[in-house]
């Protein structure tokens, strides 16, 4: 009676049969994942554009290292705190693709910039002042990208004149280097029609191109123009505007992206949530053990995989999901779900169970999970 409480066993260990994974668990099909990485890298290489995949999607250093091993130039993070696990894992080129909401975050970034290449976005003079003070104190340098709004209507300045006002604010601070522009239009990524997505992607890229040209005409060179996403990548690549792309979801493909009408550049479902049937008492449905705390619903329900149409995940409660159809799966059955939206789903899990065929190959920590500051 004195031995203490034993730890709860891990969901999976390397070498284990996939069928033995405890649930709910996040699964990554390594074969599909690696094909996705290779396809995107080949497309970027063919276009002569750098690939800087977005780590906000997965928050997992092992994923980032797999992307960089295939040619990615570094990663994007969306929050300052999110960058640290990637730096600690050896990534030495991190772009924080966002404005920082507090001086504390700028000071952390400036400290880390003593040992790595870091860049960050601004869209206000006050942000420049905060970065200047933080880097002066740390004795470090940061690359600064001005974010421009190319149609999303969220962050970013409107035009080249506004960019130039920020360049004047940057000028007295040699430790802050103007590196170029960030131009991202998230709103078009999930337009279902390929024609509509193409039109809006090219319009967004054209808007970015106009700002680049206006700056060039004023003698300002944008070494980097970064943006783009999984839903627009084919046109981002052909636009000639972007020097680097930031897609994230392509490596995993959630249900929402798969609902887009695809073109020649196709990606496969590599990410799943494993779940088990925990109750069949009702008779009309099976209850599974993955609900809102194991997958997120803002982009709709998950789908069962393989998608043979016999069964559907019809409702999510916090810790339960309902599965309907015929024949209903038996108590204890292991099912695989394709999540509706990969990014916030990764953010619920501490580990990724990476498998190949029917065997667990590795368990990867989602080390940046919850790092939202």
């Amino acid at each position: 009676m004195t031995e203490g409480f034993l730890p709860f066993p891990p969901a999976a260990t390397a070498g284990q049969a996939l069928a033995e994974v405890d649930t709910p668990a996040l699964l990554l099909d390594l074969d599909a994942f690696e094909r996705n990485l290779a396809r995107m890298q080949a497309a970027a290489d063919a276009a002569g554009v750098h690939l800087r995949p977005h780590a906000k999607a997965h928050k997992c250093p092992a994923v980032a290292l797999a992307q960089m091993a295939r040619g990615a130039v570094g990663v994007c993070c969306q929050k300052a705190s999110e960058a640290l696990p990637f730096l600690l894992a050896g990534v030495r080129d991190v772009h924080v693709s966002n404005e920082l909401a507090s001086p504390l975050k700028a000071r952390a970034l400036a400290q880390w910039a003593r040992q790595a290449r870091l860049s960050v976005c601004v869209d206000d003079a006050a942000q420049v002042d905060t970065l200047a003070e933080a880097t002066r104190e740390a004795g470090s340098s940061l690359d600064v990208l001005v974010e421009i709004d190319i149609g999303q209507g969220r962050c970013g300045v409107a035009d080249a004149a506004a960019v130039q006002r920020l360049l004047q604010r940057l000028a007295p601070h040699p430790q802050l280097s103007f590196a170029g522009l960030q131009a991202y239009q998230g709103g078009l990524q999930h337009l279902r029609s390929r024609a509509e997505r193409r039109e809006q992607a090219l319009r967004a890229a054209a808007r970015a191109g106009e700002v680049v040209t206006a700056l060039e005409n004023a003698g300002v060179r944008c070494a980097t123009v970064t943006g783009g996403g999984t839903g627009s990548v084919e046109w981002d690549l052909e636009s000639g505007v972007y020097t680097e792309l930031q897609p994230g979801s392509y490596a995993f493909m959630d249900r929402d992206y798969a609902d887009n009408e695809a073109g020649a550049l196709r990606f496969e479902h590599a990410l799943f949530v494993a779940t088990r049937v925990m109750s069949t008492a009702a008779g009309t449905h099976a209850v599974v053990d993955a609900g809102l705390k194991s997958l997120t619903l803002e982009c709709g329900l998950p789908v069962l995989w393989p998608a043979d149409g016999a069964l559907a995940y019809t409702q999510a409660n916090d810790e339960h999901g309902l599965v309907a159809g015929a024949p209903l799966p038996a108590l204890g059955s292991l099912l695989r779900l394709v999540p509706g939206h990969c990014d916030p789903t990764f953010n619920l899990h501490d580990e990724i169970v990476a498998f190949r065929g029917e065997r667990v190959e590795a368990v990867w920590p989602v080390a940046a999970r919850g790092l939202s500051r």
Copy 2:
């Protein structure tokens, strides 16, 4: 260049001014929280009903200990893995208010049961067999509650006859004690009209009462009848059916529960998400740094607090929120949001910043965050 990467600073430390908290952060107003705990405990005491608050709501041992210090008999957890942080914090009476989806979970529970009183639900004979084997191996005892469906249509058996079939399955296993029934109707908790909620709560309790009576007439005593929630608690208490109640949200009050028409037993907003304005470049709205990775939307958008109607949180992206209204808050402004749904929001955060007045009093780990197995 060799000092390593400094850790990212904590969001808050005890003694700090609340205005200095880094964002996004989960805030708990201790004065309001303690009033909520006192009100619920007093109502349960007056009715002679045990209070066993649900820890799935907050996943925080410090919250559970505060509830038990005021008279709660223990906690509920919804998953086996969720129980461990509460056991490690000294809670010695944990009810897992759910069926277990795998033998691994039963084995963990059976191990822990050597040092604590643990109970768990069943609604299928196979679950009894799994618990019997796990406890036999561990040399431990578990209390078993049969879950009955009183209208939710999720887990649980239908009637007293089905309960008795499970009692026959339990009979050969002296280490599994039948402790009574679990009867929970989650579906009625958010009916807005008080009259409608009352009617359905009393109907659900009556259904539970019928099963209890039928079992009594067959010579089977239900020592415990556990269920109920924040939205139905006043009628759960007066029903005379439940021996213990499992509410969770009353301690915090999210926007969804506050939208219910309240009766005499009222609870205050104690839980907030602190966020800062990170961009005002658009001019038409402010962008704040709390989005879908800091609060969840399945029960609707958060509201700004205090709710003076001047500003509204109108849209959540993964890491951004849009705030509209007039006058727009300035860059860097600290805002407080009441989340739409407290349970999954807690599950996104590793810490609760507990404050009193304008001062941070403590930072509590959300130790069971992410423990969904």
